[in-house]
């Protein structure tokens, strides 16, 4: 594991994202990007786009197929829909992240929990708000299936999908190196209907810095 300490002079962006808020920011090729689960077991729903070609975006299916494993951790290359490497996970104190569970949406909450849940805040609302605010032609249509950093969603050999207790904890983090210029979008998950956030969504912190490696 690398040193937690980062040279403050190299830091280009440092933000705390409250639960239920979107965040969108460019990361330049070679920069490092760390997401810190400040209080533990908070779902950080995350998307990436090739910053020079928004048609080329994160692909959950291409990512898991390329490495032949459904879990994301150190060494995972985050693949795009056009077969490019967007970022590589270079450090991970959590150990396992999900990319099959997708994002919560008001519509899927109606299916999963109750039709009366339509009013409840959901990640898809934040993703749409983030990309519409960013502009440059991005809209709901462009949202691919996301990564759920800090979430644990195992698959059984019988083909069942299960939601297990989190393997994250306060201060655990995942760190990536950008392999190209990327646009990162996060929804810090507001879900209150299942234990993914222990029914208590909490803030996360994001850091982007120029690497000296």
């Amino acid at each position: 594991m690398k040193n937690m300490l980062i040279d403050p002079v190299a830091v280009r962006h440092d933000a705390v994202i409250p639960a239920g808020e979107p965040w969108i920011h460019e990361i330049i090729k070679g920069q490092h990007f760390r997401i810190i689960d400040l209080e533990g077991n908070q779902a950080a729903d995350t998307l990436f786009f090739n910053a020079d070609d928004y048609e080329d975006r994160y692909s959950a299916q291409d990512t898991i197929r390329a490495q032949g494993n459904i879990y994301l951790t150190t060494g995972t290359k985050l693949m795009s829909s056009k077969g490019n490497v967007l970022l590589t996970i270079v450090d991970d104190t959590c150990g396992r992240h999900d990319t099959l569970g997708g994002a919560c949406a008001t519509e899927s909450n109606m299916v999963r929990y109750a039709i009366e849940k339509r009013h409840m805040h959901a990640c898809r609302q934040s993703f749409v708000k983030a990309v519409l605010g960013w502009g440059r032609g991005l809209e709901k249509r462009d949202l691919p299936h996301n990564i759920n950093f800090f979430m644990n969603v195992p698959v059984t050999p019988e083909g069942c999908l299960t939601f297990e207790d989190g393997v994250s904890g306060p201060g655990k983090y995942v760190e990536m190196c950008a392999e190209m210029n990327v646009l990162a979008v996060i929804s810090n998950c507001p879900q209150l209907n299942n234990p993914c956030n222990a029914y208590n969504p909490t803030p996360i912190r994001v850091l982007i810095w120029d690497s000296t490696d």
């Binding site: 048609e55 692909s59 959950a60 299916q61 291409d62 898991i64 197929r65 032949g68 494993n69 459904i70 879990y71 829909s81 056009k82 077969g83 396992r96 099959l100 569970g101 997708g102 994002a103 949406a105 519509e107 899927s108 109606m110 299916v111 999963r112 109750a114 039709i115 898809r124 709901k140 249509r141 462009d142 691919p144 299936h145 969603v153 195992p154 698959v155 059984t156 050999p157 083909g159 069942c160 999908l161 299960t162 939601f163």
Partner: protein, 232 residues
């Protein structure tokens, strides 16, 4: 209503109307049908892999399961299946994968036997409907089985689908179905050997109150309610 053959590696599309079904038959065994689904009336509504998996707690697709859109509605229900397992995880092949695994075979020398890949087939077919790769998210690989072990490792099961096996999808909305018969991207066969399938489209009765897909999970009951409300 009609039948059609899809040649090996070819791409096919159709707006499958609510009240009809599409039966896909693996005539020779070992086929892979990579498919995507959009609401024809508003194609920004489309098949959503995570919503399909987590609403039903599944990582495979078979009879009794449904395919969810991102809008909480059911695009298609699986009303018959003799293969028992279809893969929603692995996605589609692309030009780089096909060239790296099988080499190159151009139209100039090979005519319609030239090597095709699923991504390019989808991109071209989407364009015929005014859509693009912006509209390409997850796909389902019918007739292919990929299992996941305790460490998360994915393994392709060779020889899963036998000659004559079929799966039948009932359209619950007017669904743009785009599919092709390119090989599964994890198929270890070193040779370019995609297989054909037979398609048949027929009229079907609307799902009854005790339809197995509706009753297979309480989530699906709500999914059918939301889909039926869309047509009210």
């Amino acid at each position: 209503m009609f039948e059609e053959f899809v040649q090996p590696g070819a791409t096919w599309s159709h707006v499958l109307k609510r009240g009809t079904s599409l039966r896909i038959t693996d005539t020779e065994g070992g086929a892979n049908v990579c498919a995507m689904f959009h609401n024809w009336e508003n194609p920004t509504e489309r098949y959503n892999m995570p919503d399909t998996l987590k609403a039903q707690h599944i990582a495979h697709i078979t009879r009794g399961h449904v395919l969810y859109s991102d809008m909480g509605r059911i695009l298609c229900s699986v009303i018959a299946d003799t293969a028992g397992w279809h893969d929603p995880l692995s996605g589609c092949s692309n030009a780089a994968l096909v060239a790296q695994r099988y080499g190159t075979a151009r139209y100039q020398e090979h005519r319609n036997e030239y090597y095709k890949n699923a991504y390019d087939g989808f991109a071209i077919e989407l364009a015929k409907y005014g859509l693009s790769v912006r509209d390409l998210t997850a796909t389902v690989d019918f007739f292919s089985k990929v299992v996941v072990d305790g460490s998360g490792k994915m393994s392709f099961v060779t020889g899963h689908s036998k000659p004559g096996m079929h799966v039948e999808l009932r359209a619950e909305m007017n669904v743009l179905v785009i599919l092709n018969t390119c090989q599964h991207p994890l198929d270890p066969n070193p040779k370019y050997e995609p297989k054909p399938v037979r398609l048949s489209v027929q009229k079907v009765v609307a799902p009854s109150p005790d339809d197995p897909c509706r009753l297979s999970r309480p989530e699906n009951g709500r999914g059918f309610v939301l889909t039926e409300r869309y047509f009210m």
